[in-house]
């Protein structure tokens, strides 16, 4: 039987969850004996197979229309979708801009920043994705497994992936949950 295919991507996140994933260190050698790691932001392939993958992993929340599309694509092409990290599960740190309007956020980021020495300009190219309220992934597409944490411990990520690799759904309880 072919090895299960795994793909990942990041949305409105800091890449910390992927760094934590890489913190499984030499265990990655064992992992790729069990799974076929397809596309990730840190490897060569960037998009999940059109023929579909078994497990899709998303880091980061939904912050604009581009994130929405990536999330929908990953959901469509994955049998099981994992929301990895607090941003994906809850919205996380970027979600704190929901306290302000999008206009206020853009103003602060592009015009009022202390390091902006010229006039400052809010990017307005029509090719840019439109900003939305920051949302957890499950508010846009259904999610099967939630791994909270900022970032989740490498051991927890390894546990979840190795359970899946052996055909079981990971059961996150007690010390494996750490959204603190």
């Amino acid at each position: 039987m072919a090895k299960p295919k795994v793909a990942s991507d990041w949305l409105c996140g800091c890449a910390g969850c992927h760094m934590s994933f890489l913190d499984i260190d030499e265990r990655i050698v064992k992992l790729i004996e069990l799974v076929d790691l397809r596309s990730t932001p840190v490897t060569d392939l960037k998009h999940p197979d059109a023929s579909g993958v078994d497990v899709g992993i998303l880091e980061g929340g939904i912050n604009n229309t581009a994130n929405e599309e990536v999330a929908k694509l990953m959901r469509k092409r994955s049998k099981i979708l994992i929301a990895l990290g607090d941003c994906a599960v809850f919205g996380g740190v970027p979600a704190m801009r929901n306290f302000f309007t999008i206009e206020e956020s853009l103003q602060r980021a592009y015009i009022d920043t202390e390091s902006t020495d010229s006039e400052g300009q809010i990017p307005s190219s029509p090719e840019l994705a439109k900003m939305t309220r920051v949302r957890a992934i499950h508010e846009v597409v259904p999610v099967d497994i939630y791994i909270p944490g900022c970032p989740p411990d490498a051991d927890i990520i390894f546990y979840a992936l190795s359970e899946l690799a052996q055909g079981r759904m990971p059961n996150l309880t007690e010390e494996k949950i750490m959204w603190n």
Partner: protein, 606 residues
Amino acid sequence: MVTVTIDDKKIEVPEGTTVLNAARKAGIEIPTLCDHPQLQPYGGCRLCLVEVEGARTLQPSCTMPVSDNMVVHTENEKIRESRKFVLSMIFSERNHFCPYCQVSGGDCELQNAAYDEGMTHWPLQPNWQPYPVDASHPFIIIEHNRCILCRRCVRACGELVGNFTLGIEERGANSKLMADLGTPLGESTCIGCGTCVQVCPTGAMIDRWSAYQGKETEVESHKTTCVGCSVGCSLDVLTRDNRLVRIEGDWEGTTNQGLLCEIGRFTPMGEERNRVLTPMVRKDGGLKAATWDEAYAVIADKLGSVSEGNKQIASFISTRLPIESMYFFKQIFKDNLKAKTATIVNGYLKGSRNLVGEYGMATSLDDVKHADCAVVIGEDITKDHQVVSFFVKRNLPAGTKLITVSKEKDGLDNFAHVSIKNVKLADAIKQLASDLKALEIMKASQNLVFIFGGHAAECEECTKAMLDLAKQFSAKLLNTYDGANGKTAQLFSLVSTDDFSKIDAAYVALGDETVSQAFTQTLEKVPFVVVQSSYISSLTANADVVLPAHTWLEQNGHYMNMEGKLSEAKASLSAPESSACNADILKNIAAKLGLNISADWQAALQ
């Protein structure tokens, strides 16, 4: 007694027991948030819902009394879903961001409750309406975004402390914790006791001093006794890497049951004085570092010769020091060296009688806790011995009467039913004896307590007037005795005269106490002054010998509180290498003077 079956366990409990407590008796823990063993049940969080056979909906176990033959289930699918739902509702009600909260990672009861239910996520977003942060108070910050409206702080401020500063304004989704009628906490009637911070289950109530300094799993806990005053509250001192992190009231302490005042909880955190790091001896006009042997030699030599020459010695000890130190001090200075003065550093022990002993009616703080009328004479217990004021104030709503008798305005006046003021305290007490309303109240009382201190305890006229009234109304008398070992000082007869002129040598066993300018000035003319102190001050700067001593947190010892109850203090911190235990210093001085002294203070206090 009623019989109730919980999770197939059949038990018998007294009538009126709540389902929650009955379950606990059966060894079953039902999760709660707003419940607290010291507070009246509130039933607000709904986390404790259980299934009661025959009831239409799930019932809150914390408020529901058991009925005979009730059958309860605390674990099933419906209840688990309900708990997750309740927690989801609580999380989405406001803005709970765990990553940067000081209690996140083990110290948050809300987070722990969600972990216990195995919640990896919940379906709702936070409120996104920002709630305010009230940082106006010097010790306490209120982060409203984290408040779950459990009302533990409100109930504690009322039921335990009797201050009733905290309350909830508005209703429903607009409910918000407020101080007084919406004043910022720092400008309110808040007395800074910090009980609200200790009971808060989430990170909403922030202790400015200790936030982020260490989680419960990272700090060490030391049970000891507070030496702030003669109540002797039981403390839980939290330290980390030999540094003081936080002081909490010990919920199991029989005297205070978890309560503390700002003097016990927060004042020690603000300690900024510099330590005395080495013994010092005055040579050629200036204080120079010396060895312990040198310092002891100078002391023994000088004190010995002064004593033999029948000159005058004045000696002082701080009541913050343990009985062990006080006993050595008494034997050295009062009994052996026959010092003209052997007394306490701060206080009013001039000729104080053992009034309570004479009267014969032993009074305890339990009597105050159950008094239906309290008469407070000569002292503002909202400033000194504050925890005693909590015991009085918290019973006022239930009908306890309060009478204050004092020289000037005092913090209890607003709560008092009768308030008598006179510039001369003895006259105020006599006024009490003829005040019709007060007499009526005292006559109707079944558990009358007179709490007195300050001038009332030292003045003959006052004590006589009080004693007469107490006898007339069968009142119990409680002397507050000022400092931590104030009663011990009185039992050791450490009284004094006022005349410090013509003193040839002075010894001040200061410990970590702060002395007033007036006291320092009194000793300026004394030719030879020894100060045993933890901290540098103008007193040590003017002394001839300075001995570095341990602070209250660094020593073991015993204390006798105002009730005559003994408690033990245990060190929470290791002292700097060069300083010494206060009792050891005195013992060494006795040895150098060739005095034979006993360590059996228990026998001495019989």
